[in-house]
């Protein structure tokens, strides 16, 4: 490469989300024509935010964008497409009952480009031949595998004239074979002059295909390495912070741990995702009373499906879940029908019923609990009210009243109410996923303390978290989940380097 042409340059990008989370802090980065730039970072490092800004989906608070040297300002993704920038999202956004070609026509219309079905078919075929992408433009999307859908998205971007392709974790849902096919495709595309930004958590993938590797951490761009400069350990340290990996973390021995009775046992569990592929592949785990068992992993490695199977809202294909050391097998809806507490990652709609009062939410949330406000088929609304009043008081929930819907509360207060309601079931087992997601520091600390208190009273807690620091602080044991299986188990003091390594393989 004799002359270096900068396809895109972002300069001094800042982005703060409502609630004060700074996703991008003064990020400056450029993408050269014909290169593959890998963007690496932990969960929440700010990669997706940056790419969404470049693709015109988000507007930066500060900073500017240049495309081939020209300063631009995007008001939406179709603006970015006009400059040849296209984002291929992590979950393909295609209409299942349409063919690939029809989806492309639709996307073209939305971007203000007039293309007929015939033109799109021809264009898709010639793009397919040029880059060796085997996608039948007349195939219905519902009949395509995840890998084929991903390739259909790429064909769509190319037919619409994309020169700069932003791939957001394209290999997350792919099998190893499909992943290597996709990596091969990115190489072909770049050799034909397309520029590629490739978000990934898997260091090996980045080392394999990238011309340059950019590493982000806590919203900052911490390093930009050329192909020869990068190696696994170096990238790992940049992603997680050398000091964090340097020594074993969490030497505290609270006397809790894998000694008490078993409260949850999972054996050989297989669960499918929404796309019909196995995303939990033979998971075994055992949780004891008084223990906090953390499940770490990069988002999208089957944690959500495992969690949903455990709480009884996702079908189990194979294996079994046993609660309480007895032979009682947890089946559908069983989590709600006993002394199991569930703290899911979304508050409104998953933990709470919107538009209904807190009193109603107490009744609904304790529907299956023996301590719920029911006698036979009757609802005891007075009891629901006094339970709610007690939760609000004990958890210091700031609310205008008990008859307001949960939307009237701030995120932190909603979570206080939810945790309070779940603890009111006097559970033996708490199943929790990202319980502090989106909370400020004080609210997160409050939730942490409640979980620690519950564990010290003998409750077994299974804690799924995308925040590794949270797990290091709270957990007695950490399991690492990668591609649907438990690949590593770490006891206190934790070998953080090894945990990080296993997460990013």
């Amino acid at each position: 490469m004799s002359t270096i042409v900068e396809a895109v340059r972002a300069e001094g990008i800042w982005k703060t989300y409502p609630g004060g989370i700074v996703a991008n802090r003064d990020v400056s980065i450029s993408v050269r024509q014909g290169e593959i730039l890998a963007l690496l970072g932990e969960n929440g490092a700010g990669k997706t935010t940056l790419v969404n800004i470049i693709a015109g989906i988000l507007a930066p608070d500060k900073g500017s964008l240049y495309v081939y040297g020209r300063k631009v300002r995007f008001h939406g993704p179709s603006d970015a497409l006009r400059y040849g920038i296209s984002l291929v999202p992590q979950n393909p956004r295609l209409i299942e009952s349409f063919t690939v070609a029809e989806n492309i026509v639709l996307a073209a219309r939305l971007a203000g480009i007039k293309l007929t079905l015939g033109q799109v078919r021809d264009a898709a075929r010639s793009v397919g031949e040029e880059y060796g992408i085997a996608v039948d433009p007349d195939a219905y999307v519902w009949s395509l595998s995840m890998g084929e859908r991903q390739r259909a998205e790429i064909v769509k971007a190319l037919v619409l004239g994309a020169k700069i392709l932003l791939l957001d974790e394209p290999t997350t849902h792919l099998s190893p074979l499909e992943s290597s096919k996709l990596l091969e495709l990115t190489r072909t595309l770049s050799s034909q002059g397309k520029s590629i930004v490739f978000i990934t958590h898997r260091i090996n993938e980045a080392l394999e295909v990238a011309d340059r590797i950019a590493v982000m951490r806590s919203g900052r761009l911490v390093a930009l390495l050329a192909r020869g400069e990068a190696d696994r350990e170096k990238v790992l340290e940049l992603m997680f912070g050398a000091e964090r990996l340097a020594e074993p973390a969490g030497p505290r021995g609270a006397g809790r741990g894998s000694v008490g009775r078993v409260v949850l046992e999972v054996r050989g569990l297989w669960v499918k995702n929404d796309y019909g592929a196995y995303s939990v592949r033979g998971v075994d785990l055992t949780l004891h009373e008084g223990e906090i068992l953390g499940v770490a992993g990069i988002a999208g490695n089957g944690q959500r499906e495992l969690f949903e199977a455990l709480i009884g809202i996702r079908e189990i294909e194979k294996g079994k879940i046993v609660v309480g050391g007895s032979s009682a097998v947890v089946g559908k809806h069983a989590a709600g029908t006993s002394d199991i507490a569930v703290i899911p990652e979304d508050r409104i709609g998953w933990a709470l019923v919107p538009g209904k009062s807190l009193v109603f939410n107490t009744a609904a949330g304790m529907y299956g609990s023996p301590l719920g406000p029911y006698r036979g088929i009757r609802v005891l609304w007075e009891k629901a009210r006094s339970l709610t009043a007690r939760i609000v008081k004990e958890m210091n929930v700031i609310t205008p009243g008990l008859d307001v819907p949960p939307e009237a509360l701030s995120g932190g207060n909603m979570q206080r109410y939810i945790v309070g309601r779940e603890l009111a079931k006097k559970p033996r087992l708490i199943l929790s996923m990202n319980p502090t997601g989106g909370l400020d520091v004080a609210a997160a600390r409050f939730v942490h303390q409640l979980l620690l208190d519950a564990a010290s009273q003998g409750v077994g807690i299974l804690l799924f978290s995308e925040d590794l620091d949270e797990l290091i602080e709270l957990a007695d044991r950490i399991l690492v989940m990668n591609r649907g299986t438990i690949v590593y188990e770490s006891l206190r003091p934790f070998d953080v380097r090894e945990i990080a390594r296993r997460m990013t393989v």
């Binding site: 009884g312 809202i313 709600g336 933990a351 609904a364 299956g368 009757r378 609304w381």
Partner: protein
């Protein structure tokens, strides 16, 4: 320039929808009378017709059979819609209730008098329930769209009715059956009181039982409901069974207090469809269905009364539409605050 804006109120600050609905009714009638200016009867003639309609004592009595049929169809639909189970099958269930009732009272249990009414109503309810449950089963176990299935089942029920009245049950070569014996005919007041009791019972079921909590949770946040132990399939099956049953009862009561015989129509009786309107007008509350069904029953009677007073049929329809729209708009307004800036 003053701008008028609607600001949504918090749920606990909303106005009473019943009062707003009543205001809407008054406003609707005022507009309807004003529309009368365009007819040969003129404003004064139309106003006169409205006064005559509403001041006649037989007017309320005439609307009772409609009230019974519409309210019982509507109350089941209201609960179903709360659970996001969008069935429109009340019409077919109502028709089957009528058919079952007639078959039992006329052919199977003649001469038993009041006892046959008890048996007949119980079996008609059961038939309606099973017909409703069919939709629920298809929804829950095969993921079929309940709206389409229930609509198709309505046509099947209507075809069965038309076959019976033109074939095996026809009398004198007409497409209608014989009238029920006088011993099993019930006054429309009694029938509407039965309907009223059922409506209150369903309000109690909705407000004070587990099923009510489950229905609202599923309708507003299905994932939440399933996570915390509410069995989606079982609730939908219960709701489809229940709504089918009350629609079956609607058909039975309409038969014994209003129609008193079966006859052929190309579109069917239609009260099951008007029940959809009654349910939504009532804000999907069982008690609210009492008010909305009374209104819709009155509009039914108005149809003939106004025409007799010289208002053209097409204008009567326009006036009915105006009144329904006005009530709907006012009820919707109870959730907003009007801000002039």
């Amino acid at each position: 320039m003053a701008a008028i804006k609607l600001v949504e109120r918090a749920p606990m600050e909303r106005g009473n929808p019943l009062l707003y609905g009543a205001a809407g009714l008054v406003a609707g009638i005022v507009i309807a009378v004003a529309i009368g200016a365009l007819t040969p009867a003129g404003i004064s003639g139309t106003l006169h017709a409205f006064v005559k309609v509403f001041s006649s004592p037989s007017f309320l009595a005439l609307s009772l059979p409609y009230f019974t049929a519409i309210s019982l169809s509507g109350v089941g639909l209201a609960l179903a819609y709360r659970a996001s189970f969008i069935t429109i099958g009340a019409e077919g269930q109502l028709i089957l209730g009528m058919i079952t009732g007639f078959w039992l009272l006329y052919y199977m249990l003649p001469g038993l008098g009041r006892i046959s009414l008890l048996v007949g109503s119980a079996i008609s309810v059961l038939v309606g329930s099973v017909y409703g449950l069919l939709v629920g089963l298809l929804r829950v176990y095969l993921g079929v769209n309940e709206t389409l299935v229930s609509l198709m089942l309505n046509y099947i029920a209507l075809s069965v009715l038309n076959y019976l009245v033109s074939g095996p049950w026809s009398v004198g070569g007409f497409t209608k059956t014989d009238v029920l014996p006088a011993g099993v005919v019930v006054s429309s007041l009694t029938a509407s009181l039965v309907a009223l009791i059922v409506l209150v019972a369903l309000e109690v079921l909705y407000r004070y039982t587990r099923l009510g909590v489950a229905i609202d949770s599923i309708g507003l946040a299905r994932k939440m409901a399933m996570t915390y132990g509410i069995n989606y399939a079982r609730v939908i099956l219960k709701v489809s069974f229940l709504s089918g049953g009350v629609a079956g009862l609607a058909g039975f009561l309409y038969l014994v207090s209003g129609a008193q015989r079966l006859y052929s129509t190309s579109y069917g009786p239609g009260y099951g469809y008007i029940g959809i309107l009654a349910a939504w007008l009532a804000g999907l509350r069982p008690l609210g269905v009492i008010a909305s069904s009374m209104l819709l029953g009155l509009l039914y009677v108005m149809n003939t009364s106004l025409q007799l007073s010289g208002v053209l049929p097409s204008f009567v329809q326009a006036m009915q539409a105006v009144i329904v729209l006005s009530v709907t708009a006012f009820v919707a307004l109870s959730r907003y605050r009007i801000v002039v800036s």
